[in-house]
């Protein structure tokens, strides 16, 4: 069976579904990233704007799919990249138009009242060492194990698999090939910890921050598990389906916990961070030169975005990119 078309179309369809629901993945008082009356999304105008956006998003999806299907067979080198780019840019443009319209005609300006607790930081705010050290111990243990079983490692072995389960990248029995996955796991884990540390220091306290820090701590485990399994495959028979099942169950568990925590009735109703819409470029990019915070809660979805007016944000961004790219560069060398 020719799998090129389903593999090109399915990710696009998934992204399109997410975009359909994106305007609803937000907090009360925010609609299409604009500050509005909490009841506005349910009003006739609010429903009309949502319908209009969804129709436009559906049209962009049809266009992207129409481009993806012939490209998948005739120009496989483009893969789904070009249609995906069209989809994101098109729906992004529609989203921006709605943000502008809502901000201009229905937007509210909330008072810029800020608050801080004068009580010293609570102990449960920080990164817990007892939780984040075991993954590093596991990586070191596997590295010693591979070193001890060096002669059992084949000269060439698979390190990457396609969506169809077939290996599509191979490595040689050398330092980069054998220890590369473990180095990748170490760097990714460090990346999560650095991100958590900066988040603790340079963002405002909120339930979102608490949940994000806890998620980052626990995400070290599936990351370590994935790369440890990959690095052990040359010397051990590990059923991929079992490894993938454990991985997905773990990640699903983390996100389920985060969702429950944020939406729990006992969770504090903090509302959006008190920033004027004027600081949100296109409703998505936060740009406030007066705000020393590097990370601020996103207006759409769960998580954080950066304050692009802060020079330190760019330093952190470049640092994070370097940490993420370093193992790739080292392994390819």
């Amino acid at each position: 069976m020719n799998l090129e078309i389903p593999f090109a179309v399915l990710p696009l369809a998934l992204v399109a579904v997410i975009f359909q629901f994106m305007p609803l993945l937000t907090r009360r008082g925010i609609f299409f990233s604009a500050t509005v009356d909490p009841e506005f999304p349910q009003s006739a105008d609010g429903r009309r704007l949502l319908r209009s956006y969804r129709l436009q998003a559906a049209l962009w999806t049809v266009l992207a799919l129409a481009l993806a299907m012939p490209l998948a067979t005739t120009r496989p080198q483009f893969g789904a990249r070009l249609p995906a780019l069209l989809l994101v840019a098109g729906i992004g443009f529609s989203y921006w138009l709605k943000f502008r319209e809502i901000h201009e005609h229905y937007g509210l300006r909330r008072p810029e009242v800020r608050e801080t607790s004068l009580v010293p930081a609570e102990e449960n705010e920080g990164i817990r060492l007892w939780l984040v050290i075991p993954p590093f111990i596991a990586i070191a243990t596997v590295a010693f194990y591979l070193n001890a079983h060096w002669s059992q490692i084949p000269d060439q072995f698979p390190v990457h698999w396609g969506v169809n389960g077939q290996p599509n990248r191979w490595a040689n029995r050398d330092l980069a090939g054998v220890y590369g996955p473990l180095l990748m796991a170490t760097m990714l884990n460090l990346l999560f910890l650095v991100f958590g540390w900066v988040l603790l220091r340079m963002s405002r306290k909120s339930i979102m921050r608490y949940v994000t820090i806890r998620m980052l701590e626990v995400l070290l485990y599936p990351v370590t598990f994935t790369f440890v399994v990959v690095s052990l495959l040359p010397v051990m028979r590990i059923p991929l389906w079992l490894a993938l099942s454990v991985l997905f169950a773990f990640i699903a568990g983390i996100f389920f916990w985060a969702y429950r925590k944020i939406t729990a009735p006992s969770a504090p109703d903090e509302g959006p961070e008190p920033q004027s819409d004027s600081y949100w470029k296109a409703g998505v990019f936060y740009y406030n030169p007066n705000d020393p915070a590097i990370f601020v809660s996103k207006r759409v979805g769960i998580g954080y975005t950066m304050n692009f007016a802060n020079k330190m944000s760019w330093v952190v961004l470049v640092g994070i990119l370097l940490i993420a790219l370093l193992p790739v560069l080292l392994v390819r060398k």
Binding site: E112, V113, R114, L118, R201, D291, P292
Partner: protein
């Protein structure tokens, strides 16, 4: 103008960035109220300059300057790179210049409120209440 200081439900400092009163002044005034009424007792540790600045969305220098002002008044001892500690402070005798300055500011405030329609009796009650609330 809208300056609010929350002192209930724990120790919280709140400022209004839309206010005509500069953020620096709001921070100094807010902290001084907590210091005068004893909510911030000697030995209490205040968060770092960075923590307060990030939470309030103001420049680090604004908070550092506010801490320095209160340190100059004898309320705080600054800890480099960390924060500040509230220290024991002998109430100084108000100098003649300070009293004159206070009278001038009070007169301006009273005139402003009277122009808004507040009666002298009402202002007198308000002043007495405020003084009683802050009295150690």
């Amino acid at each position: 103008m809208c300056v609010q200081y929350t002192v209930s439900n724990g120790l919280t400092l709140r400022i209004d960035l839309d206010s005509d009163v500069p953020a620096y002044r709001q921070i100094v005034d807010g902290l001084r109220i907590l210091l005068v009424n004893g909510k911030l007792a000697p030995g209490s540790e205040l968060p770092s300059v960075r923590r307060i600045a990030v939470d309030l969305g103001v420049h680090f220098n604004t908070v550092a300057e506010a801490y320095r002002t209160l340190a100059d008044e004898g309320w705080l001892e600054l800890r480099h790179g960390r924060g500040a500690t509230v220290v024991e402070r002998d109430a100084p005798a108000a100098s003649a210049e300070k009293v004159t300055e206070f009278r001038r500011r009070l007169q301006a405030l009273v005139a402003e409120m009277q122009s808004q329609g507040a009666s002298a009796a009402r202002l007198s009650t308000e002043l007495r209440t405020a003084a009683n609330e802050l009295e150690l």
